[in-house]
Amino acid sequence: MSRRPFVRPVSRTHWYFKHPRYLRYMSREVTCVFIGAFALLLLCAVERLSEGQAAYESFLAAITGPWSTLGLSVVWIFAVHNAISWFNVTPKALPVQIGEGFLPGRFIVAAHYAAWILISLAVLFFAGVL
């Protein structure tokens, strides 16, 4: 008997529409575009800062306004989505074994949220907001 295994074609561009869990994954991956864009904006800010106060202030003026607020809000939403989706899976990567059992994952997730809040408060403190 001759064998003739059939290989089913796989779409390289539409595969993530095949299952909601793939879409959920892509929604996490796509956040990197927005976070990358924000990182570039930060780099520009540093560059303008190095050029002196006037340059920096004109940069700040250029990114103030309703459209910038809207854009930055979108970036913020994606950044939060990125953080939450990663925090929620950290127990898988960093299990903590205590004796014969494991620390429940929610404590590991909670520790990440706590660190997030503390670091954010520290940043706001040093920025003079608090």
Binding site: R4, Y25, V89, K92, E100
Partner: protein, 247 residues
Amino acid sequence: MNERMIHLEVLRYDPQVDGEPHFQRYEVPCKEEWVVLDALNAIKESIDPTLNYRWSCHMAVCGSCGMMINGEPRLSCHAFLRDFEGVIRVEPLANFPIERDLVTVADDFIDKLKRVKPYLIPGENKPIADGEYRQTPAQLMKYRHFSMCINCMLCYAACPQYALQPLFLGPAAITLAHRYNLDSRDGGREERQQVIATNEGVWECSFVGACSEVCPKAVDPAGALQQVKVASTLDWFREHLLPGAAK
């Protein structure tokens, strides 16, 4: 006992006749407590003896009855008919070539499994007279859930990275390597790292997490792979930033 008519759409492929697979519809009277595998057995016994599929234990232990059921990789002996409504679509496990009907070619997985050396490689060779290699319950718990794998390949069928890059070692093979690496009686980690800490090994994984969602044995392959990434990254730092440090 309650009986009801179940409609199944089964992907058929006869390599001698068919150019490509096609669906065939069956109507089969099924009992309330039956699983999809029972329905297939009923078809084979009384409707169409030419239908091909694999199974053995009928109790989610042997790992041979994996199929796509309504698009989801499932053990057909563990998929109760009462949980489905309407026509049930049964296809061979995704991401594997179809040999015939619901039977897939598993060679690629078997080969990958062999490559990760999924067995104990003792670090020190104790003479038999010195007795057994002992292990505490805590040392056992470290890897126990990873040792529950039944090699059913559902995780490969769910993994989009394996679908796009068939060279990827894949979830179960890397998880088994990790299982032995975590075993206090084992000394083979370095040999396995050559195979799994590579681009076609764990670094092909982008943590979609689908494998853990479909695993019928709660093995959590996605967790194992992330832990392998963490450990391999630490290896790299040790090697490059702490010259002379013991591995």
